[in-house]
């Protein structure tokens, strides 16, 4: 930052970090203190007659405050809400002054570029995207953690090479890239080299470099619901497309997961997603529909299973599950009966076996987790429409 400031003629710098990242805050303070001690910050840096001060500003835990205009408002002590650009930060930023804003990672690449030269840096990466990127591997993957890799590395290399593959011999299903509003990429695209353009083409983003790996036990509708819930909660509320649009998409996803989806819900979701993407003010709203759009693109059949057959193929969506005890496998240990919060597991008369009264089961899965003999069977058999006439009433809310 000091180098950048010297080049730009700036005398004040800020590092913005969420209060939740206590350890990072602590380390930053130590690092800054040391830099001052070495004379790398403060007055007359390295006898160059150049002054530069860095302050740490602590954010109050809002995702949207990572958006640059919101971040600057937050640094100023105002409500962290994005503003339309232009004016861009470089024209009018902090307190109306021209401001340069970059990610810590971007700053970290300055040093090696200066030391080794631009041609060296440009030799890494792909035709369009140069250099390296720090990726954060998480989810159903053996080696979770942070890895710096050259652009152009394929998703397969990341997940099965660096990441060491999927634990417990499960099958890979999808990977979500770029943070909570990134798209979900399926198996058939694992061999694409990771760069901005290729991810965009698949409906996803580079974003933070996050990689959330999902295995066969993940329900893609549930995944879309989960991330929509996040975006809806983190929407700052400034613009209606994001504020209300994410909320409405969440409602639709929730009812699909609950088995109350209606045939035109997919159309409604697609309409809303396209609109929220186009109309929203900032990156949060513009990317929030990505998980929905990509799951609809690559896993449409899962949506159809939920809506039409009332079935969750990955057996995740609670309302669509059915629990049964396999009478052959059951050893009569009673651990399931003790785990059941609604006491709906009973002993079969005269036998050392247990059974579940389906009518009163709340699909919590406690028995499934508890049983050590895999005797509890979780299925999502689906329901036909005629079986549940009340579905129609529940789903067909007031026609307006």
């Amino acid at each position: 930052m000091a180098i950048g400031a010297y080049a730009m003629g700036s005398n004040r710098g800020f590092i913005y970090i969420r209060a939740e990242y206590g350890l990072a805050v602590k380390r930053l303070h130590i690092a800054i203190e040391q830099a001052y001690k070495y004379g790398l910050l403060g007055k007359n840096i390295l006898e160059k007659g150049f002054d530069f001060d860095v302050e740490v500003r602590i954010g109050a835990g809002a995702f949207v405050c990572g958006e640059e205009t919101a971040l600057m408002r937050s640094v100023e002590g105002r409500r962290g809400q994005p503003q339309p650009r232009p004016p861009f930060p470089a024209q009018r930023g902090l307190w109306g002054k021209p401001t340069n804003i970059n990610n810590v990672e971007t700053w970290a690449t300055i040093r090696p570029i200066i030391l080794r030269g631009a041609p060296w840096f440009a030799s890494i990466g792909t035709e369009k995207t140069k250099g390296t990127k720090v990726f954060c591997l998480a989810g159903k993957i053996n080696n979770t953690g942070v890895a710096e890799l050259p652009f152009g590395t394929t998703l397969r290399e990341m997940i099965f090479g660096v990441g060491g593959g999927i634990p417990n011999g499960k099958k890979f299903k999808a990977v979500q890239t770029g943070g909570p509003s990134g798209g979900v990429i399926p198996e058939q695209h694992l061999d694409i080299p990771v760069e901005y353009e290729s991810l965009q083409k698949l409906g996803s983003i580079m974003g933070s470099g996050g990689m959330v790996v999902m295995d066969e036990d993940s329900c893609m509708v549930d995944v879309a619901r989960f991330f929509m819930d996040f975006c809806c909660d983190e929407s700052c509320g400034k613009c209606p497309p994001c504020r209300v649009g994410t909320r409405q998409m969440l409602s639709i996803l929730e009812r699909i997961c609950n088995g109350q989806g209606k045939p035109d819900d997919i159309q409604k979701l697609e309409d809303l997603a396209a609109m929220v993407k186009d109309s929203s003010l900032c990156g949060l709203g513009q990317t929030a529909p990505n998980p929905v759009l990509t799951t609809l693109r690559y896993f449409r059949d899962e949506y159809m299973a939920h809506i039409v057959e009332k079935r969750c193929p990955a057996r995740v969506c609670r309302e669509l599950l059915h629990f049964e005890i396999d009478q052959v496998a059951c050893k009569g240990c009673s651990i399931c009966a003790r785990a059941c919060p609604v006491q709906t597991i009973h002993k079969v008369d005269g036998q050392k076996k247990f059974y579940i009264t389906t009518e009163t089961c709340i699909h919590c899965g406690a028995c499934f987790e508890a049983c050590r003999f895999d005797a509890v069977v979780k299925t999502s058999p689906g329901r036909t429409r005629t079986e549940t006439p009340e579905d129609e009433v529940l789903a067909g809310e007031v026609k307006s």
Binding site: P240, P241, L272, M275
Partner: protein, 607 residues
């Protein structure tokens, strides 16, 4: 980049001219192309939140908000493609699904609501998404207006108005996402706000039924009311009013955006007090018979007054008028003046000193907008001339203007001041600080009011004028701005009417035995004349008092004859504000009961 340089662009295929620095919305508007908006309001900073004004700019894949995007030379803009209309329509649908917009039970129903108008424009009669309808607070704790969160679309027009026009920042948004809500102060009920001045500007700015004037609610759409543009006569600023009436009754009063004085802003007094506060009117002429005032005809009342005048011919006659009377009434007074031994106007405390050298401060309001330093001496604009106080607050908060206040009483403005001090003999240290604070000021404005007219006050005024002249660093020090308290006092003084503060001395000089008081629509009915007990005793003793007033008061108790005056919204003519502008009064209502305008009454009585 030279702001103001001419640029050309194509909007919807139409070649348009604009100026560099203008937004796409402004250029389109100037060229007759309308773009729907909700969160945009002229004179406020652009918000870019509602996304109704989105347009396509050739070469950019993303849509951009026209209200905040600068127009660029040579660009091609589309404002009405099918895609844009679809996006806007869905935005409206989402807004309607978000909160309760059952129009039939909304105060803004049928035409006063921008949201409803937009929906009509897009032909929306139903929405595809479920209503979310949280049950939110309807805050009617405020005196003059209510805030129904259920109708709020979070456009922040109120927030920005309160911050950028009234300058107090009472309102802001709380929470995040769909839980967003307008909050008052630190989330209190409106009625409990300690910062709200009740200027009502937020209500005027609100595009929906969220903020509504209580007295105006459910009286039908304003578009079906008569509109009359007139002038507020509560103080010498003279803000422009638009009075909405129906069936000879006021439905609402808003600021007149066309007013050169106030550009649409008002303070609580002009916006609400004059018509919301209950004040018992005098509706008929009355004469005293057997110790009681009894209603009578105009003919009888005028006859009685004439008889009283001729009976008092051997003694002294005196007339006292309110400084609120119109210029036309002043001219009538000048005509009939010879009939009286004394004519005076009863001004506010210490105001007579201002009136002995009446100074109109040309373009004072504009100077307040341009100033980079302000000194307020002996004036209480936040109590008296609210729109001036708003300008001071905005200057300090938005432009970083330096402010020095010297006053005999504290006020909320002190919180905005770099220095605030009482009007007493001040030490050298104080003047040094004033010098420091105003050191870099180039366009200072010195505003002084009646309370500066004490011996100490006048020395301070002289001293300040010198400090500023020497210190404004080559900038020009224009004449100080005289800010009186009474509405038309400067014009009346300039017209030769003697200002009277101390009534008892004034009356005591000569043995007055006939007194005619024109209290006009003084809110207290002129009762302040009786502040000192011996004045009352004196008036009771001469028994020849005629009171011409709009409102009942203790003054009518001592009157022999009472004549009903028209009030502000029933008057025609003009008043002259502190800048010297003659501002028109246009009657929005016919006078109540048998009331008549002051000059007409005077002409009848003294014909």
């Amino acid at each position: 980049m030279i702001a103001g340089k001419e640029i050309s662009l194509t909007i919807d295929g139409k070649p348009c001219k604009g100026a560099l620095g203008q937004t796409i919305l402004q250029v389109a508007g100037d060229n007759g192309i309308e773009i729907p908006t909700l969160c945009y309001l002229k004179n406020l900073s652009p918000w870019g939140g509602c996304r109704m004004c989105i347009v396509e700019v050739q070469g950019s894949p993303k849509v951009v908000p026209a209200c905040s995007t600068p127009a660029t030379d040579g660009s091609t803009v589309i404002t009405n493609s099918e895609r844009l209309q679809g996006l806007r329509r869905l935005t409206l649908e989402l807004l309607f699904s978000e909160r309760n917009h059952f129009c039939p039970i909304c105060p803004m129903n049928k035409g006063d609501c921008d949201l409803q108008q937009q929906a009509y424009g897009f032909g929306i009669d139903s929405i595809r998404y479920p209503y979310l309808y949280p049950a939110l607070l309807v805050d009617v704790s405020g005196k003059y207006f209510g805030l129904d969160h259920n109708r709020c679309i979070l456009c922040t027009r109120c927030v920005r108005t309160c911050d950028e026009i009234e300058g107090v920042h009472t309102l802001d948004i709380g929470n995040r996402g769909v839980k967003n809500q307008i909050v008052v102060d630190l989330n209190v009920m409106f009625g409990a706000s300690t910062t709200c001045t009740s200027c009502g500007a937020c209500v005027a700015a609100c595009p929906t039924g969220a903020l509504f004037d209580k007295s105006a609610a459910f009286h039908g759409p304003l578009s079906r009311c008569q509109q009359v543009r007139t002038t507020c006569t509560e103080c010498p600023v003279g803000c422009g009013l638009v009075v909405y009436t129906k069936d000879n009754r006021i439905v609402d009063v808003f600021g007149d955006a066309e007013s050169t004085v106030s550009r649409g802003h008002l303070c609580r007094r002009g916006r609400y007090e004059t018509w919301v506060e209950p004040r018992p009117r005098i509706l008929r002429p009355m004469v005293r018979r057997d110790g009681h005032l009894v209603p009578t005809s105009w003919g009888d009342a005028v006859h009685t007054v004439k008889t009283l005048i001729s009976a008092s011919n051997h003694g002294q006659n005196a007339m006292l008028v309110s400084p609120r009377v119109t210029n036309e009434t002043m001219r009538t007074l000048q005509k009939i003046g010879l009939r009286f031994d004394h004519i005076g106007m009863f001004v506010a405390d210490k105001e007579s000193a201002l009136c002995t050298s009446p100074e109109f401060s040309t373009d004072a309001m504009k100077r307040l907008d341009d100033a980079d330093g302000m000194i307020l001496l002996g004036a209480q604009p936040s109590r008296e001339q609210g729109v001036v106080a708003a300008k001071i607050r905005v200057a300090v908060r938005k432009r970083g203007v330096k402010l020095v206040i010297l006053n005999s009483r504290r006020s909320d403005l002190d919180a905005y001041a770099d220095i605030s001090a009482p009007i007493v003999t001040l030490e050298r240290k104080f003047w040094n600080r004033v010098g420091e604070v105003l050191g870099n000021v180039k366009r200072p404005v010195l505003i002084y009011g009646a309370a500066a007219m004490t011996a100490v006050g006048v020395t301070i005024l002289d001293r300040l004028t010198k400090v500023l002249t020497s210190q404004c660093n080559g900038g020009e020090m224009l004449a100080p701005i005289q800010l009186p308290t009474s509405t038309n006092s400067l014009a009346l003084a300039a017209g030769g009417v003697e200002p009277v503060e101390d009534i008892s001395t004034w009356l005591g000089v000569q043995p007055v035995n006939f007194l005619y008081v024109v209290a006009s629509d003084e809110p207290d009915g002129g009762a302040r004349l009786l502040k000192e007990p011996h004045v009352r005793a004196f008036l009771e003793q001469i028994d020849c008092v005629v009171v011409q007033a709009s409102y009942e008061s203790a003054l009518t108790d001592v009157a022999r004859v009472v004549l009903p005056s028209a009030i502000w919204c029933e008057k025609n003519g003009s008043v002259t504000n502190f800048e010297g502008r003659a501002l028109p009064l246009r009657a929005a209502l016919a006078p109540s009961g048998e009331a008549r305008e002051d000059n007409i009454v005077l002409e009848t009585v003294f014909a």
